[in-house]
Symmetry: D2
Subunit: 205 residues, 4 copies
Amino acid sequence: MSNLDKLIRLFEQFPGIGARQARRFAFHILTLPESDSRELADLIGNLQGSVIECTSCRRFFSRQGGTTTECGICSDGERDRTKLMVVAQDNDITAIERSGVYDGLYFVLGGTLPLLDKKENHRLRGNGLRHIVEERVANELSEIILAFAVNPDGENTSRFVEKLLAETVPDSGVKLSYLGRGLSTGSELEYADPDTIKNALSNRG
Amino acid sequence: MSNLDKLIRLFEQFPGIGARQARRFAFHILTLPESDSRELADLIGNLQGSVIECTSCRRFFSRQGGTTTECGICSDGERDRTKLMVVAQDNDITAIERSGVYDGLYFVLGGTLPLLDKKENHRLRGNGLRHIVEERVANELSEIILAFAVNPDGENTSRFVEKLLAETVPDSGVKLSYLGRGLSTGSELEYADPDTIKNALSNRG
Amino acid sequence: MSNLDKLIRLFEQFPGIGARQARRFAFHILTLPESDSRELADLIGNLQGSVIECTSCRRFFSRQGGTTTECGICSDGERDRTKLMVVAQDNDITAIERSGVYDGLYFVLGGTLPLLDKKENHRLRGNGLRHIVEERVANELSEIILAFAVNPDGENTSRFVEKLLAETVPDSGVKLSYLGRGLSTGSELEYADPDTIKNALSNRG
Amino acid sequence: MSNLDKLIRLFEQFPGIGARQARRFAFHILTLPESDSRELADLIGNLQGSVIECTSCRRFFSRQGGTTTECGICSDGERDRTKLMVVAQDNDITAIERSGVYDGLYFVLGGTLPLLDKKENHRLRGNGLRHIVEERVANELSEIILAFAVNPDGENTSRFVEKLLAETVPDSGVKLSYLGRGLSTGSELEYADPDTIKNALSNRG
């Protein structure tokens, strides 16, 4: 297999990319000025070295020089340390920070636990979460917010986290909460599903 | 203009129907057995006579013989008369009844009040709503639920109803509530808009 | 079943209309001025009487008074009677006339013959087509153009018509032709399917 | 700007990629085994060195060792050297080879000439094409097939190539041809545009 084909093969493993677009990516790189394709290669090759996983929340962040091992959010003294929001992935933090309404801390679980997948997902940081919670329960933690997608995999992941924390949380006074459900922006009643209507009604206020 | 063209013109005014589909409808009728096209014509011609507007909630219902002027929901003694949900249109009631979680009464406002439309919408039954509320406040009514779409027109309609009821409701002990907002079925955090995240967070529980 | 439900049921049989839109149609009619819903009913009820099938091409046209039994195209002395284009349905004629490049006559077969449907389609006017062709072969007819969709059902319909005319056409000097194939407006080579490329290449010029 | 952000910025310049997907690409790379992200970087960094532009048709191909400067198609003695198909980009060749119906040679122009773009496109290999044609006219070339998209930019590019070859081709006996137009796979007459119907009719056979 030629280098071109190998590269196309790797691009096909990018999220959401099929054979045709992978091929277009390769041609895109072929038409770049050499300095640009070189920069792209360097950034990719050094990404894992220049970006580190925060030892607290586990999200990736850029080590801009310095020797810090905690990301900007975790090391920000202004954030509310009584709240810990558990999300599936880094991108979820981006969306929540964009809304500007949450000032607590995060923990990135590293994915969801698919409902139909029997085998354990070794990339999920279940133990990491348990350790963090055990540690903080003794300190300031008062609320853990489970923030997963409203779909079967998201629900299953909530169940997984509940079990994981079943020994730590119940007697600790820490509250386990869930993002509220109801009508989201743009919802029209006529097209809303029964579950959403049910949630919208029981969360009315 | 031929009768065929006139009919196509009327079909073009059906909700969501363009010129091409209107034409297809006409050809569909041309290929029906004559008894079917005759039945269709009769049902349409007599619809307004056989369907009446409920004098309480204003939704359309079939007068199946009888002399009732209230629909099956309004005349059902089991429904909870302390709750009144205000919706834009009949189809919204269909969606809510399908969810099986609401047992109160309804009022069909007859549309929404577009944010950018300066002129009054004469089809909105604002006065009808006010009269019903004034009448019931003295009786059992304890909650009015505004159930409009989560979009600018829906919000504007909520503001319109609030003003409409500003003299009646505040001193009456009746609670004005709104359908809850947050993540709807299928929502993923990564793609959720800031308002939805904000609502999901403040309605967490 | 109420009249409202019966009407919704009939609307659900309109081409491309599902349960929800059928319901919207009924509510649309309920909100029309009575004169409009009455006119709609009359037009539908009288459509089959005011529109007749052309005895030559079989398309529907409006009998505007008069006693004509041929449509405007078939009775137009300027049209080229040496060409006969066979199409599946009336709407195809509308599209071809819109292009303004065909001046021959038409025959509406009344549908296509689905590839996987074993049973005969009794609405197809196969015999009618054969009679017309037999009659015209003796006169001026020199070309029959089969104009069906480029999909399996369209191809199957072409085969059906070829067999149907197998006794009449071959020795008659009449040419059986097919609409040309190749790149249609908007086609990009990169996304073209192999058959289209093959046709585009063999029809190059 | 952090390295992570720089990389996201570069991914946003990939064809068809927006801000959100660019970010997902970066996270995808962060979760790759280090050997994989290293391989990806190497392949990108060395792509321009391992892939060369064919000196004849100008498409990119992998130099698999060897010192060849012509791609597999151009150096294949079985291909028909009397035909030269001019395409906009490498991907078009992929589509045409997939159809398996063309056995001539190619020339990759390097893009199209947008109708509304006044300034010359310096990446178009107009001179390269002219030289190739001048050289081959004296030899075996008998047909040049212009194979651009059926849209305004494609048409404009055909005009551009015609002018470019206006001094060479007309007196040479070489035929300038164009991919055939008409109904493409899946076309239904009812939805076909007038130009496509016109082409389908004039290319009937």
